[in-house]
């Protein structure tokens, strides 16, 4: 487990996390590998895990009926994939596919939620890290929504 703890703490997402809390988080962690084309999760699945990307690229996509999937974001090493596990009903709202061979740390959602409930200091440290990511993605999503490069983009 010690190797995993080192990997977790060295991921940019957990930069600055106290060693004790790092231990707690690692207790919920496992090492994962996704081959090109495999799915990390599908829309509608229970959001049981979130992922720290160590190497590779994950494409987030939505599948409209009768059309090819639309990829709306790609996340690369250093970033995280998955925030739906934070909020009930804990279900994924899109698909996540490995766009190339991807290595990630999977962190068990229920395990971490329980530990955060028991230790609010841990909980707050997690919130401080998740919130900026969510806000940034909201900003980016809004900018994509503007379709600035469209026919009448200005």
């Amino acid at each position: 487990m010690e190797g995993l703890e080192r990997i977790v703490l060295s991921h940019p997402f957990f930069a600055g996390l106290e060693a004790e809390l790092g231990q707690l988080v690692s207790g919920c962690a496992r090492n994962l590998r996704f081959d090109l084309g495999t799915y990390l999760f599908h829309e509608g699945d229970a959001a049981n895990e979130f992922y720290l990307i160590r190497h590779g690229t994950v494409a987030l996509e939505i599948m409209p009926p009768g059309q090819p999937a639309i990829v709306f974001a790609t996340e690369r090493e250093g970033n995280i994939v998955g925030t739906s596990w934070l909020v009930p009903p804990y279900r994924w709202r899109f698909d996540a596919r490995a766009a190339e061979l991807t290595r990630a740390i999977g962190i068990d959602a229920r395990c971490l939620r329980d530990k955060c409930e028991a230790d609010h200091h841990l909980g707050y440290e997690m919130m401080k890290r998740f919130l900026p990511v969510i806000v940034q993605r909201l900003d980016e999503a809004r900018l994509q929504l503007l379709d600035v490069y469209g026919q009448h983009g200005t």
């Binding site: 806000v135 009448h152 983009g153 200005t154």
Partner: protein, 387 residues
């Protein structure tokens, strides 16, 4: 009758005959002489042949959205302020062909604009108008690119200025340091002197060309009394300005307050009719139109006056940048009183009051400026944050 040429700054006295002789001499030298005349119940500028064409005995009553001609008790030739037109309609014509093109084989050949035939002599140019001409000189001949036709017209331009004996109801040249005394930019400057039965003109020489012209006219040296009387006329006018505008820090005031509530206030009144830009002696915006005949064989490019008040003015693909009345009025006023200083080193406004007089709803630039000044914040602070 003196034959010796007066130097620049020299003063003489001219009678009505002398003035008539001046007009004739200018015509004889090939000038199109343009001056004030009454037409359609306004004093406009057009070709004049004799002093009888001048608006003798007329004055104007001006206020926001109001212009009326009234009879004077005397027969002053220049006893009015300014009418709806300015000299820019001659120097910077409302419509002008830039060039013509003709299809040739797979391409086309361009022929330049027709040469300008006439040279202009302006009679009755007010101090504010002299400043306005100087301002347009800066725009058209002192930037990185010159308007060559404007330059040509100005080169051959003979100017007889007139010092104002009447301050118009909407005048504020004093606030803008643009009058009422004509101090530069003229060949000759007249001050009309009326004293009981005596009616004459003090003439000041403003250039070598002016001195030459005067030398050929019946005139005599001005007496010290006449000189003093002329100064008094101007001083009297300066004290009777219809409006005033505080120009202290006006650039920062307007540029720092693009979100002032007053812009919404004026927008509710402004019709974006563009009258103000048409009558303003310094507004210079133009558009170009490309025309072609039905067969597509010949084309021409024509330049015509345009106004930042039109919706099209700021159009880029996708729409106009300034859609709201508010933004367009703000653009005009901020440009005139503030941005112009960044662009050309002086204010764009000469205080002639035309925009106030000819606004159909009586919007008054001096009132708007004062209102913004009265309740402006020190700097543009955000009123509230947001995500």
């Amino acid at each position: 009758m003196a034959e010796v040429e007066l130097p620049v700054g020299g003063k003489a006295a001219l009678s009505h005959q002398g003035l008539q002789a001046l007009i004739e001499a200018l015509v004889a030298r090939g000038y199109r002489v343009l001056g004030p005349t009454v037409r359609d119940r306004a004093i406009i500028y057009d070709e004049i042949a004799t002093i009888d064409d001048l608006p003798a005995g007329w004055t104007d009553r001006q206020d926001a959205g109001t212009y009326r001609l009234e009879r004077r008790a005397d027969k002053a030739l220049f006893g009015y302020a300014v009418g709806p037109q300015s000299w820019k309609r001659f120097l910077h014509p409302p419509v002008e062909q830039l060039w013509q093109a003709r299809r040739e084989g797979n391409g086309f050949a361009i022929t330049g604009p027709e040469k300008i035939a006439s040279k202009f002599a302006f009679l009755g140019v007010r101090a504010c108008e002299l400043h306005a001409i100087a301002i347009q000189d800066r725009v058209f001949t002192q930037g990185p690119y010159h308007d060559t036709s404007y330059q040509q017209r100005r080169q051959d331009n003979f100017i007889v200025a007139v010092n104002c004996g009447e301050a118009g109801g909407t005048c504020f040249c004093v606030s803008m340091n643009a009058g009422p005394k004509a101090d530069t930019g003229f060949d000759l400057a007249l001050t009309e002197l009326l004293d009981g039965d005596r009616h004459s003109f003090l003439v000041e020489v403003g250039s070598v060309l002016g001195g030459e012209a005067l030398a050929a006219l019946p005139h005599r040296p001005a007496t010290p009394d006449e000189s003093a009387a002329a100064d008094a006329v101007v001083a009297h006018t300066a004290r009777r300005m219809g409006r005033q505008l505080d120009t202290n820090g006006i650039k920062e005031l307007l540029q720092d307050n693009p979100d002032h509530a007053r812009w919404d206030d004026v927008a509710a009144r402004c019709l974006t009719c563009a009258n103000c830009t048409m009558v303003c002696p310094t507004c210079f915006c133009t558009t170009v139109e490309d025309h072609t005949d039905l067969a597509g064989q010949t084309a021409e490019r024509v330049r015509r006056w345009d106004s930042c008040f039109t919706l099209d003015f700021s159009y880029i693909h996708g729409g106009s940048v300034r859609k709201e009345n508010r933004s367009r009025y703000r653009q005009w006023m901020t440009h005139k009183l503030a941005s112009w200083i960044d662009q050309f080193g002086t204010s764009g406004c000469v205080g002639c009051g035309r925009c106030i007089t000819w606004c159909p709803v009586g919007i008054d630039i001096t009132v708007e400026a004062a209102a913004i000044r009265a309740s402006a914040r020190g700097s543009r602070e955000a009123e509230h944050g947001g995500t």
